[in-house]
């Protein structure tokens, strides 16, 4: 599954980092980074992250 974050609407709430720490994280500069291609074991967490995003910025597909 592919993971995309629309950075034009992301407001760095960080809820995805909490819900799916293996997929989303902050880099040293405080920016959001993520794994763009995830395996099946990470899908549930990524979906939880997508649901938890207050800006609906996470697109899975």
């Amino acid at each position: 599954m592919k993971v995309h974050v629309d950075m034009s609407i992301c407001l760095l709430h960080g809820q995805c980092v909490i819900a799916a720490p293996e997929v989303f994280s902050f880099d040293d500069a405080g920016g959001l980074v993520w794994v763009t291609e995830i395996d099946d074991s990470q899908v549930a967490d990524a979906e939880a992250a997508s649901d938890a995003c207050p800006e609906q910025a996470i697109i899975l597909g």
Binding site: H13, G14, Q15, V17, I18, F26, G30, A52, P54, Q56
Partner: protein, 405 residues
């Protein structure tokens, strides 16, 4: 109960997430989602901020503003039934009676009707008094928010403060009237609330704390000390009341929202569950006192829990025994993010662990909240998410550690 009939009343975030979660657990369930608003489920937090700015400035057409708020959903057309624009009238023998007379036969009813704004009981100034909860409320308020207009906000909770900040950005003159000594006092505690007061004053808000509204005249708000405030637009931001009237005959405890157990099952009503702002539940991370929690993340958390409960009851199994979601809320004011984890409102003491409260809005601040010796919350003020994440982890460790009395 091969194909259980599940009626979800309330078609906002909590109702939608419940429908999704039930479908995921029970693909054969017959789900009916009912909502009193005519709109498809949408997201409310931007209503006091970006959406209001866009609507007021006329920068974007109404449809475009609403489009951005629509909640994306995994539900495919035809997977559930939806009845929008009709409210529930009552519960009859465990089924839901709608205001248009229809009776929805239900094996389970999920209450997701949320809250509505409290209003001031006094008459007067009806042509300029607003509340903010729905998209329609936001639209009506935004139309009145013209640059140079005099706005009086009654209540300095999060909604009132966010509206004040947006109104300042739009060039209105803003006075906020609050009976408590500081804005957002219960949620933030004295020291942080005082810093927030300073932030609002620095941005030109006239903040009148320790004051309440006595009466409304045609174009003025009269305070308890006799002061008269000219008002082109008045916002009542006095907190909320749970929408539980339709549940009067359900047998549930409705003394504040719907009292539920840790499975979102209503106490006293066999086939009723409650989710979102309505659900009053105890969180074992803190204590055993049931509380309603009006945070954005609660609908998602309680929806999953309710769906697991329904699935377990249909199949005869039991859901996982513990439900201890980490509370989280945020507010954006003057471009500064207030981000909280845990339950700062339960704290007795606050410790600034990063930055300096006099630098609010200028430099990052992190404040830890404790009850007795135990950390119960953390709040970041304009703090980078990665920094708050570290303190959230520290809080999580503290809350999950066994308590030694």
């Amino acid at each position: 109960m091969a194909d259980p009939r599940i009626t979800i009343v309330g078609a906002s975030l909590a109702g939608l997430r419940t429908a999704e979660a039930v479908l995921a657990e029970l693909p054969q369930a017959r789900i009916m989602l009912v909502g009193d608003e005519p709109h498809a489920p949408y997201n409310r937090p931007p209503l006091s901020k970006d959406s209001m700015e866009a609507l007021a400035g006329g920068q974007a057409p109404r449809a475009e503003v609403f489009e951005k708020l629509l909640l994306r959903s995994k539900i495919m057309p035809g997977q559930i039934e939806m009845r929008l624009g009709v409210a529930a009238a009552g519960i009859e023998s465990g089924n839901v009676r709608l205001e248009d007379g229809a009776l929805l036969r239900s094996d389970f009813v999920v209450a997701a009707t949320g809250i509505r704004p409290r209003r001031m009981p006094m008459q007067g100034a009806a042509d300029r008094r607003h509340v903010l909860r729905s998209f329609d409320d936001a639209e009506a308020l935004a139309q009145a928010m013209r640059p140079g207009a005099q706005m009086v906000v009654i209540g300095a909770g999060f909604i009132g403060c966010e509206i004040a900040a947006t109104a300042r950005k739009l060039g209105l003159h803003v006075t906020v009237v609050e009976p408590a000594p500081q804005p957002m006092l219960r949620a933030l505690g004295h020291r942080v609330a005082a810093a927030m007061a300073a932030l609002h004053r620095r941005h030109g808000v006239t903040l009148l704390t320790g004051r309440s509204v006595e009466t409304f005249e045609a174009e003025r708000v009269i305070l308890d000390d006799g002061k008269a405030l000219e008002a082109d637009v008045i916002v009542e931001a006095l907190g909320s009341r749970p929408n539980t009237e339709w549940l009067a005959a359900s047998g549930a405890d409705l003394s504040d929202g719907v009292l539920v157990d840790d499975r979102m099952q209503a106490i006293g009503a066999q086939n009723l569950l409650a989710v979102g702002d309505l659900a009053r539940f105890a969180n074992p991370l803190f204590d055993d006192l049931p509380r309603r929690v009006e945070h954005w993340c609660v609908p998602g958390q309680t929806a999953k829990r309710a769906a697991a409960t329904i699935a377990a009851r249909v199949s005869g199994g039991a859901p996982a025994p513990d439900f201890a979601p980490m509370p989280s809320f945020w507010s954006d004011q003057y471009g500064m993010r207030v981000q909280a984890f845990g339950a700062p409102a339960l704290a007795e003491t606050q410790t600034v662990v990063e930055g300096d409260l006099t630098q609010i809005g200028v430099a990052p601040i992190v404040v830890e909240y404790a009850r007795g010796d135990h950390l119960v919350g953390v709040i970041g003020l304009g703090a980078p998410p990665a920094l708050i994440a570290r303190y959230r982890a520290r809080l999580m460790d503290a809350l999950c550690a066994p308590v030694t009395a």
